[in-house]
């Protein structure tokens, strides 16, 4: 059942199983559409920036960043890894109504304030065409794709010479068109619901349906991760690989920030003790008011934890 496929670029034998959708040549790295379930015409690629350009963009990021600028002399590029992530994209028309609420505090407790919004929109819904994917950066990448009109090239139109310039590792595609459609349909509603959840305190009613879905395209989208070292640790900045747009970065927590967290913890220890004394020396002590010192202790724990956090995430 092994195939005798050869790479049409360099002639090396390709490893193909009966389930392969796109085979990647282990010698030159060129993707090749194998399975009859994805048509060559449906596969597109966003040509990636090369390592040199991305490292130049990285240096510009350092220059612009408030914290990183100050420590740039000690920052060194550890390595940069670029990969093409296979992503199915379809235009989805969503229609319906959503009722959600926010809490508003009043003199006696709090009250739910409702709002009903009409949904009637067409959005790009991308899903990663495989199951295993590094979590950091991927969601940001999908957000970018859904908010942008990309102009990808058909894979079939990429010449050997051009591939040499834009070549990166290509991750395996696992979902075929049919299962991509099923997932996009489900995902588009899930994501819209998440959007509303984020904007509100809760959903009261979600009555939205998928009116139509366009034929999905398979996009090979590049993502660049630049790992850099500072003192004795490694951090990373992740970019959209075709235009160098910043997706997410991790950076060291600077000394100034750490000192601030330490001082904060110290202050909280004093405040907790004093607050307890003051509460208990009132004439009438309500039991429920003792929750306040406990709350302060929680805050102390949270602040103290930040002292040792080595990495700060910035989007």
């Amino acid at each position: 059942m092994e195939s005798e496929y050869v790479c049409s670029y360099c002639g090396a034998p390709l490893e193909v199983t009966p389930e392969t959708i796109i085979a990647i040549c282990s010698y030159c790295g060129k993707p090749k559409v194998i399975s009859g379930i994805v048509s060559v015409e449906d596969v597109y690629i966003m040509p990636a920036l090369d390592r040199f350009s991305i490292e130049k963009i990285f240096k510009e990021t350092i220059e612009r960043d408030f914290d990183l600028r100050r420590i740039k002399k000690e920052i060194e590029i550890h390595n940069s890894v670029g990969t093409y992530v296979p992503i199915w994209v379809s235009k989805v028309h969503l229609k319906g109504k959503v009722s959600y609420y926010r809490y508003k505090s009043e003199n006696k407790g709090r009250k739910k304030v409702y709002k009903v919004e009409v949904v009637d929109e067409v959005r790009n819904v991308p899903i990663v065409a495989r199951r295993q994917i590094a979590p950091l950066g991927t969601n940001e990448l999908l957000n970018l794709i859904s908010n942008r009109e990309l102009s990808p090239k058909r894979l079939i139109d990429v010449s050997v010479e051009e591939w040499r310039e834009i070549k990166l590792e290509v991750l395996n595609t696992e979902y075929d068109k049919r299962s991509a459609l099923e997932r996009i349909q489900e995902d588009s509603l899930d994501r819209l619901r998440e959007d509303f959840k984020r904007r509100s305190d809760g959903i009261d009613g979600f009555q939205v349906e998928v009116v139509s879905l366009s034929d999905p395209k398979l996009l090979l989208v590049p993502i660049w991760r630049v790992y850099y070292s500072y003192k004795d640790s490694v951090y990373q900045i992740i970019y959209a690989g075709w235009n160098g747009e910043l997706l997410v970065k991790t950076e060291p927590v600077t000394v100034i920030r750490r000192v601030a967290y330490i001082l904060g913890s110290i202050a909280l220890i004093f405040i907790t003790g004093l607050a307890t004394v003051l509460l208990l020396s009132r004439k009438e002590v309500e039991l429920s008011s003792l929750i306040f010192p406990l709350f302060l202790m929680g805050m102390t724990y949270y602040t103290a934890r930040k002292i040792i956090k080595g990495v700060r995430l910035e989007r």
């Binding site: 005798e4 295993q132 099923e182 979600f206 004093f270 080595g310």
Partner: protein
């Protein structure tokens, strides 16, 4: 322009009649439309439900080192002092299922009153058929779904081979429970209360028993041993322990100690204030406790020599 076609023949599915191209040399294939496995030349259905995932050619230790090197807090000299101690290959049986469910629900909401909606769930799951730590490790692991091959006897000899400890029926039950629970959960998210719930489609499609390779690796760094699990088919780091740099630990312990002392100082300050004895007693107690609370995160992390990281899940303690 390049020629992207290769030597292919047209295969015709004996079940649904779909036609699609396959490499000329393929003897047995799976219909992409209805999932039937059949012999291409004879056009007859073949009962194949046992597969394996081929091993990746990449050295698992190499994947591991590359991953660990880029983790926060790892000592810079890890590459120089990294020693390989032991590598075991587990060939683990996993039942693969494709889940697809749809339910028609009636939901009650405050503002939209009562309305009808449809909830849908699509997923691929792997139910691990062994018990013990390997099962816990791979419980929600995103197994790849493509790239498996028909089982061969030689696979039993390439590593520690396990026979399934749970039956296909039991695995199917676990998969079904998962699907119906997810449909229910999704329905509950639609409104205040679910009034009616009718399953319209409930497909738990068996995709085969797959023997999946997982590396259990051990490596040494300055006299301590660390353990890691690497996906044998894709090279992904499932879970890996790694060291923390010593310098960081010393500073942490010092700051932790400082916060404890601050708790005591705050307690003494309160004793010297002019309040009632009872209030002062609880006040000093509160600041002592708070000093301990504040130093807790600093001590717990610095005492730990090993930290866990993973390539596929975000581990909370890594923040």
């Amino acid at each position: 322009m390049l020629d992207l076609s290769a030597r292919e023949i047209i295969a015709e599915c004996p079940t649904c009649g779909a036609k699609f191209s396959v490499p000329e040399t393929v003897a047995t294939t799976e219909c992409p439309y209805c999932g039937t496995v059949f012999n291409v030349k004879r056009k007859v259905k073949v009962e194949v439900d046992h597969f394996y995932f081929p091993l990746s050619k990449r050295d698992p230790y190499d994947s591991l080192l590359r991953f660990i090197e880029c983790q926060y807090g790892v000592p810079v000299d890890i590459k120089r002092n990294f020693t390989i101690t032991r590598g075991t290959l587990h060939i683990i049986p996993v039942y693969f299922y494709h889940l697809h469910g749809r339910a028609r629900v009636t939901v009650r909401s405050r503002r939209l009153k009562t309305f009808n909606a449809v909830v849908e769930e699509v997923d691929d799951v792997g139910i691990v058929a062994v018990k013990g730590p390997l099962r816990d490790l791979l419980k929600d692991y995103p197994f790849p779904i493509r790239g498996k091959k028909f089982f061969e006897e030689r696979i039993k000899r390439i590593g520690i081979y396990y026979d399934p400890e749970i039956s296909r029926e039991e695995a199917e039950r676990i998969a079904s429970t998962r699907l119906s629970r997810r449909l229910r959960e999704e329905a509950e998210e639609l409104g205040e209360r679910v009034r009616d719930f009718k399953e319209e489609l409930f497909k738990v499609e068996f995709k085969g028993l797959v023997h999946y390779p997982v590396w259990e690796l051990e490596y040494g760094y300055k006299g301590t041993t660390y353990k890691a699990y690497v996906d044998g088919a894709t090279g992904v780091i499932i879970r890996a322990e790694h060291p923390l740099s010593v310098k960081g630990r010393v500073i942490q312990i010092a700051i932790g100690g400082l916060l404890l002392v601050i708790g005591v100082v705050a307690a003494f300050t309160i004793i010297n204030l002019g309040f009632s004895e009872n209030a002062k007693l609880f006040g000093t107690l509160a600041s002592l406790i708070d000093g301990v609370v504040a130093s807790l995160p600093l001590f717990t992390r610095s005492v730990r020599q090993k930290v866990i990281a993973s390539e596929v899940e975000v581990i909370k303690e890594k923040e």
